[in-house]
């Protein structure tokens, strides 16, 4: 196993930039997720690592070896494709064994390794079937087996779960995490699904428009998105973003949004002043909007300092998920989604006053989209 290092990789297809100056280090034995919407360049990055695509500029290292000009067949990587790309004319056994045969392993060694890997994946009874006779989940396992059997330097996975039904996907998610742990292997996993990224990745990298937006631990990326794109892309329901101008009222800096005033923390206001920013986008995650505490409750818990904002509006849409409810509140002509406990049940048309604490307010410069403040 080895680390994989992307050094200032750029890729152009004709006039379009698929990747711009991507520098990333994937550590040895790490489960690393490349996350982004379709067309963001994540698959291109993976294919460049695999050697299926040549970078326009930059270098790629596996371990300490520069493989930029090494053909795919000699890179000693394994790839799992979105629709598996199993050889339809070969049995499961031959599919799994193919890479070993190409590398000239002895016949009995191949048989032993194939047995071992297929037993691990629970497909040992399917060895003589053709891919056409397998279910989606079984094909997925064969594709994994084909990758695992060679003990490659790293595993490259291109949205491997996207063709499975939702139940199977949840199951395979857990299995892949366990597999990566057991193999102590380097995984680079491409997905557009933030849930997969959050649940599986030890670290995630968010890409958009061919540019790296943020790299970090999933929780850090969620808690402190580096810019507005990351903030809105990660999280479900998506983060509420309200735009407004900076004002000073009663000695406090605040943003005047259509849904009301949002107070800016002291730490953030220092940054705002320093950068001469006049208008901001305010981001609030749905789960951080809570019904305003009653007078008595507020009095007892002095710690619940005055909220950064109160948003008042009518419940327009209530989606109950059983464990929680997503309530769309219309305030000042803007829709804001709040993630509330399932009880008490909110009726459509009810008036809600939702509070958000100062530490849960994210601020972004409207012009650059970059995060402002801590």
């Amino acid at each position: 196993m080895a680390r994989v290092y992307f050094e200032e990789i750029s890729k152009r297809f004709g006039g379009t930039h698929a990747l711009r100056d991507l520098t990333l280090e994937v550590d040895d034995e790490e489960f690393f997720v490349l996350l982004g919407p379709s067309g963001c360049g994540k698959t291109t990055a993976l294919r460049i690592a695999a050697g299926l695509e040549e970078p326009t500029a930059g270098a790629i290292y596996i371990g300490d070896r520069d493989v930029s000009f090494v053909p795919a067949k000699d890179r000693d990587l394994a790839m799992v494709f979105q629709n598996y790309a199993l050889y339809p004319h070969m049995s499961v056994r031959d599919n799994v064994a193919f890479g070993l045969r190409m590398r000239g392993y002895a016949r009995d060694e191949i048989e032993r390794l194939v047995q071992e890997v297929t037993a691990t994946l629970g497909i040992a009874d399917l060895l003589d079937r053709k891919p056409g006779q397998l279910s989606g989940g079984q094909r997925q396992r064969v594709a994994l087996g084909r990758a695992m059997v060679r003990r490659p330097q790293a595993f490259l996975m291109d949205e491997p779960l996207s063709n499975l039904d939702s139940k199977m996907r949840v199951q395979m998610r857990a299995e892949l995490v366990r597999l990566q742990r057991d193999l102590a292997a380097t995984f680079i996993y491409v997905t557009h699904d933030q849930v997969e990224a959050m649940t599986m990745g030890q670290r995630i990298a968010v890409l958009e428009g061919g540019k790296l937006q943020q790299v970090g631990l999933p929780q850090d990326v969620y808690d402190r998105p580096a810019n507005r794109f990351v903030a809105e892309f990660i999280g479900s329901p998506a983060m509420n973003v309200l735009e407004g101008d900076l004002v000073v009222e009663g000695g406090h800096t605040a943003v005047r949004t259509p849904a009301g005033l949002v107070r800016v923390s002291d730490a953030a206001s220092a940054d705002v002043r320093e950068q001469n920013i006049t208008s901001l986008a305010v981001g609030i995650r749905p789960e951080h909007l809570t019904p305003e505490a009653t007078e008595s409750a507020a009095a007892t818990s002095a710690a619940a300092a005055s909220p950064a904002a109160i948003i008042e509006g009518q419940a327009d849409l209530v989606e109950s998920l059983g464990s929680e409810q997503h309530v769309t509140v219309v305030a000042g002509g803007w829709s804001v989604v709040a993630n509330l406990p399932s009880s008490p049940r909110i009726e459509r048309g009810a008036t809600l006053r939702l509070a958000v604490a100062a530490e849960h307010v994210h601020l972004f410069d409207i012009e650059s989209g970059e995060r402002v403040g801590p």
Binding site: A50, L52, K73, R75, L77, Y87, M102, R146, R150
Partner: protein, 326 residues
Amino acid sequence: MTAAEGVARPGSLVRSAWRMLAALPFLLPSMVLFGAFVFYPLGKAVYLGFFISNPFRTRQIYVGFDQYREVLTSSEFVSSLLVTGTFTLYTVFPAIAIGTFLAVLANQRLPGIIVFRTVFSSTIAASVAISAVLWLVLLHPSIGVLNEAVEAAGLSRVNWLQDGGWAVGEHATVFDMVAAWFIDPNWALISVSLATLWMNIGLFTVIVLAGLQTIPEELYEAARVDGAGRWQQFRHVTLPMLSPTLFFASVIGMIFAFQSFGQIQILTEGGPVDASTVMLYSIYETGFEPPFRVGAAAVQSLALFAIMLALTLAQFRMLAGRVFYR
């Protein structure tokens, strides 16, 4: 209530008879066509084989199976079999191999590749007559380009269309003829085969190219990551995925070979002697040239039919198991 429902009620027998009756008008056009152009001539050929007749069949004598026996055991027939087999060998497999090679070349994503695809497949558009005349010039013993090339390569000139090799002269037995096959090249047949090969390459290139384009790119990518080089990708991905196409090509290629006529007529007229007389040409000579032995031609036609049927079935038997259909 319609008539159909009224009739259908009494029992399933009546119902199926009624359905049959309803199917008849739909089957009728093809039944008429097949009947008029396949089954009637087939029956007529069997019938004609029992008679010898004068040129316009104003008088005919029943000879029964004697004619079948006589034609099928004649040395001309055996010779035409060997010539046809050789011709098929020379034309079908080389054409498929060359067509596959060109198709693989033309299947790459390169600027201007469409020009090469067009050139490689252009022989489809040339008529048999024109192609044959073209080759007649190329193969000309004294002014032909081919002999110029042969001479430039330091070899002696070949009497392309006039040297019958093993197919000419006396051979005591069939075995002697087969023995001669290996040492004495039949240049006339080789010439005809060269022209036919050239004509067929375009078609096979197009067929194989179409087959290649149905192979998903990802399989090659998977093979590359798995460590397969160019040749291994061809051997383990392209060929098996192409097998239905190649099988189809071999069946129609064989049928084409058995049906070749125009180029033989123009280039050699079956000669010298019978050196390039394939079965079809022999049928033509027997039945449509004096003395118009229609009965004997009919017997040969039936033999050709039987051989083609048997070979096609054998191809399905032998190859079907190795062909991978998705």
